[in-house]
Amino acid sequence: MKRGSVIGPLILIGIGALFLLRNLWPEIPLVDIIAKNWPFVLIAWGGLRLIEILMWAILSKPIPRNGISGGEWMLVFLICIVGGTMYTARHYAAWFPNRPWHEVMIGMGDNYDYTLNAVEKPCAKNCRVLIENFRGNAKITGSKEATTVNVSGHETVRSFQQNEADSTNKQTPLELIPQGDQMIVRTNQDRVSDRTRVTAELEITVPIGASIEGHGRMGDFDIESVNGAVDINSDNAGVRLENIGGDVHVDLRKSDIVRAIGVKGSVDLKGRGQDVELQNIDGQVTVAGTYTGQIQLSNLAKPLRWEDTQISVSCEKLPGQIHMGLGEFTANNLTGPVRLNGRSRDVQISDFTQAMDLTLDRGNIELRPGKTVPKIEVHTRSGDVELALPEGARFDLKASTDRGEARNDFGAPLRVDETGRGATIVGGSGGPELRLETGRGTVTVRKASADELIVPTPERPTPERPPDAPKAPIRQ
């Protein structure tokens, strides 16, 4: 009789037991257990075989030439490959440290929704509310009656298994922690494992005098009617502010929109993003960053400083509006010396009465000063320049193109001098210097028609209502 080993039958029993386990108690994370513990199968196998051989040796039975045959080594090899693959798949995070993979894996899970237990704690009228680093959307409203900070909301756990989501939810209670005159809103999202992801949707009510500091990883901040300062720092956020009494600082790595309407203090914007909308700002506005979407600024009472990689603009006051989009800049009714420096853009500015200094790499320029013509200085390497002057204004003009034609639609006292491939329009009646230069393009000076001169009331763009549904990908 061929002497057999106990290993073969044991392996069969083990496989059967695993399937049975899976059928009877599906909630046991069997795959996880196998993925991590399969090396013990090898150890057990080796141990059993060792004992077997020693037993045979003691009992003086003939022992096999090889403890483990070639075929068995093949099976070991197979187990190693399968087990190693499972382990890698389950612990992908360590193998693919870059987040996109992680996002993709997490994205395969399911969403589990939970209502968070609301918390409320009394705080000073002018307390500082700090929202700790979290993922999700926060809607913060100041209330005149409130003497407490009240937080409620719900959270979504993205996970592969219900029990994992449940325990994640238990690990992430909402907490309010008073610390001096500061109130910390904590979501405890950093406690969860790498294999689940929590997003919270918070509704926070604060006393109207409170100031807000928010840190987020991803998600929107909507803040309304708060008299203190607002300080938002996030990796990826849409920020919408309305009726803010203090200074506003917003620093974002990525953003779809930053909107501030009605800010009594200054507005300081940093980072990257797309759309920006600032309206009715009483303080100074400073923007340093890269904003690539539609930009709408209107009714700024204090100086504006806009610096980004494509364009820098400054003026002392903006009773009218500025609109910037891809490759265009339109402004009307600006006060104070205006400086604009841009790469490639079509610029259209109307109704300005103080010095204008405009330099472009390329782009068409259209200027229409107000009733009194200020000093104007314009340079572009390539692009048409058009200047509309009110009739009877006093100025001293020199508009030239190195390569292109000059058109004098204004008439006397201007005249055109053609020089080589270019041309120059000169003349004037004494007054502020107007210097326009283009490397290549047409220069036109014309009369502003009467209706153009009526100071257009700056059409206050009624901001579209902020969308009710948050944009942050709560559900993917």
Binding site: V41, G46, I58, C80
Partner: protein, 73 residues
């Protein structure tokens, strides 16, 4: 015990290697030491077992040397 040590060591070599392999992988998974660092242990172990085999092997029986010159008939 009438089994010679040589064949015993030869037989247990496989299981011991298997146990060692499993232990190293488990150590990797539980964060003791990475398998990438510890794999040479397998070679060393194999070498040691081979050495043991040689050490307990029965001394080889050589035929008596033929005297030079031989016995010319």
């Amino acid at each position: 015990m009438n089994v010679d040590n040589y064949s015993l060591i030869q037989a247990v070599r496989g299981p011991i290697m298997l146990i060692a392999l499993g232990t190293l992988v488990a150590m990797d998974y539980f964060g003791v030491r990475g398998f990438g660092q510890t794999w040479p242990i397998l070679i060393i172990l194999f070498g040691v077992l081979k050495l043991l085999e040689k050490a307990v092997a029965k001394p080889a029986t050589f035929p008596p040397p033929v005297p030079p010159g031989g016995n010319a008939i």
